[in-house]
């Protein structure tokens, strides 16, 4: 039996709340969820003191929906493997940290490290995300390593640092050091990017659909008939809509780099 619950925020907590481990599952109840204790600053607090929780009609898979400003709630959906989480409002840091499956829909903005080390599933943030989104935790070798991550607004600095796999789409702008040390994967950007984009990029594809970036000296033009792979890539990204919808009809230029890191990364400039 699947279960669905709605969490309505009573009032903003005084301290940050850690929601690590609070994930949709088949065997939950309102009582059990209300009694569940989560870190609130240095203390623990019952979820029932933070949210009014009620059961919702069950769908095809376990689901949570949150209502309210959750910008002080960290690690929302961390480790999610299945089920759905929807948030009407903002979220704190580490949204979807290391998720491997399921789906998270946030209709507001998220804090730092959103989608950090995510390995699967779908993470959709309608608003903005802070720095280090889709990146790696300090000391970790790989950032985002699978799944679909869609950002409707802008992203902060160090977006996709050490990203290794998966598809990351930003409809707005991205800050400095975007795709720095990127290992592989696909990053599509609908707006502008900040300084030092692709610094140390080893492999992976960056698609610029909105504004042409400043080309670093360590990226070189590659002029050949690349229409086959471009069509495969563009048709996939077109499903994300917005400025990406018309990509397949465009004729991009391609640059390879960072040649200081092997030169197997690529920039598709289709602005």
């Amino acid at each position: 039996m699947t279960t669905a619950f709605r969490f309505i925020l009573r009032s903003a907590p005084r301290f940050r709340v850690d929601l690590q481990g609070l994930l949709p599952a088949a065997d939950l109840s309102v009582t059990a969820l209300g009694n569940r204790r989560v870190l609130h600053g240095h203390d623990a607090i019952a979820l029932g003191d933070l949210f009014r929780i009620d059961e919702q009609p069950a769908g095809a898979e376990p689901a949570f929906s949150f209502q309210g400003d959750l910008s002080r709630f960290d690690r929302l959906g961390a480790g999610l493997a299945a089920g759905r989480i929807a948030v009407e409002g903002d979220a704190g840091d580490y949204l979807g940290l290391q998720m491997t499956g399921g789906a998270i829909e946030l209709d507001g903005s998220a804090g730092l490290l959103a989608g950090c080390e995510m390995a699967g599933g779908r993470l959709h943030v309608a608003g903005n995300v802070g720095d280090y989104a889709a990146g790696a935790l300090p000391g970790s070798m790989d950032g985002m390593r699978g799944g679909d991550f869609i950002i409707g607004g802008n992203a902060g600095e160090r977006l996709a640092d050490r990203m290794r796999r998966g598809t990351l789409v930003v409809h707005g702008d991205a800050g400095a050091f975007c795709a720095s040390r990127m290992v592989a994967g696909t990053l599509a950007i609908g707006g502008r990017v900040g300084a030092h984009c692709g610094w140390g990029q080893r492999r992976g594809s960056l698609v610029f659909a909105g504004a042409a970036p400043a080309l670093p000296d360590t990226f070189v033009p590659t002029d050949y008939d690349f229409r086959v792979i471009w069509q495969l890539l563009a048709r996939s990204l077109a499903k994300r809509g917005g400025v990406f919808a018309s990509l397949a009809a465009r004729s991009p230029t391609r640059h390879a780099g960072d040649v200081a890191a092997g030169g197997k990364g690529e920039w598709w400039i289709a602005a």
Binding site: R165, T186, R227, L232, R235, A248
Partner: protein, 311 residues
Amino acid sequence: MSSAPTTKNMAATEIVIDDTFAEAFPMRATRVVITAHNLNWARIAAASMTGFATSVIACGCEAGIERELVPDETPDGRPGVAVLMFAMSSKELAKQLERRVGQCVLTCPTTAIYGGLDAGDAIPLGKNLRYFADGWQIGKMIDGRRYWRLPVMDGEFVAEENTRMTKGVGGGNLLFLARDTEAALGAAEAAVTAMRGVPNVIMPFPGGVVRSGSKVGSKYPAAMASTNDAFCPALTNLAKKTELDAGTRCVMEVVIDGLTDTDVANAMRAGLQAVIARGVDAGCTRISAGNYGGKLGPFHFHLRRLLGEGA
């Protein structure tokens, strides 16, 4: 192939359909999609890849062009060709696929190749061919499918990492017994044309037609197959057993491989109906099928049942 006993109703006004069946075998099968800059080059690649793939007896696999694809049907929006390949084992299918893609598709100008089945065990397509790029290969995962991009002299050869393998059916067949060569060819060509409209099947012999139908075994121990003497007009009055009457001077066979037994049955039915529709006056007087007495292959396609008789 030997033939089961037939019931002959030699009405001169219609084509006789023997009360017999085609006997077919399980095979391993896959489909790949080849695209190119234009349909001509996709056809050339497919024809090259499926060359010398008429029979597993000596070719290692049976392969053919299933159909041509318009740009809307292919992953990269270019014209393409769907190819089906069948072999007697998973290992042999993988070996033949890799060799043929490596020598006939990778080498062919402007081509790309993709898996054409969504379910089944994975077998390598570009997975090992990527090493041809000598370290310059680039892997790209798009929508859950991994592609390998190999720099080549006309740009880039794109190959999906794997295709899928399924259990197929090989050896469906029809024998067209006719008064002369023109009539037998006409019947076989009409059948093949009709069968090409059926999805999920190929007719792997040249032009879809085989004139050297075979039986299992030989008087020579080294040969695993030999001429189907019971259907050879030259031996009608010589062989110990013949299936032909004096008026039959030419026999042509169409062999069908399909992804499922239903596909093979649909193709055989289409072929039967096409030849029957031409009428006995076109020169094909009898339609039969080859089998091994029903002891070897688990798939039996009874001709009359295919036509809705005696089901």
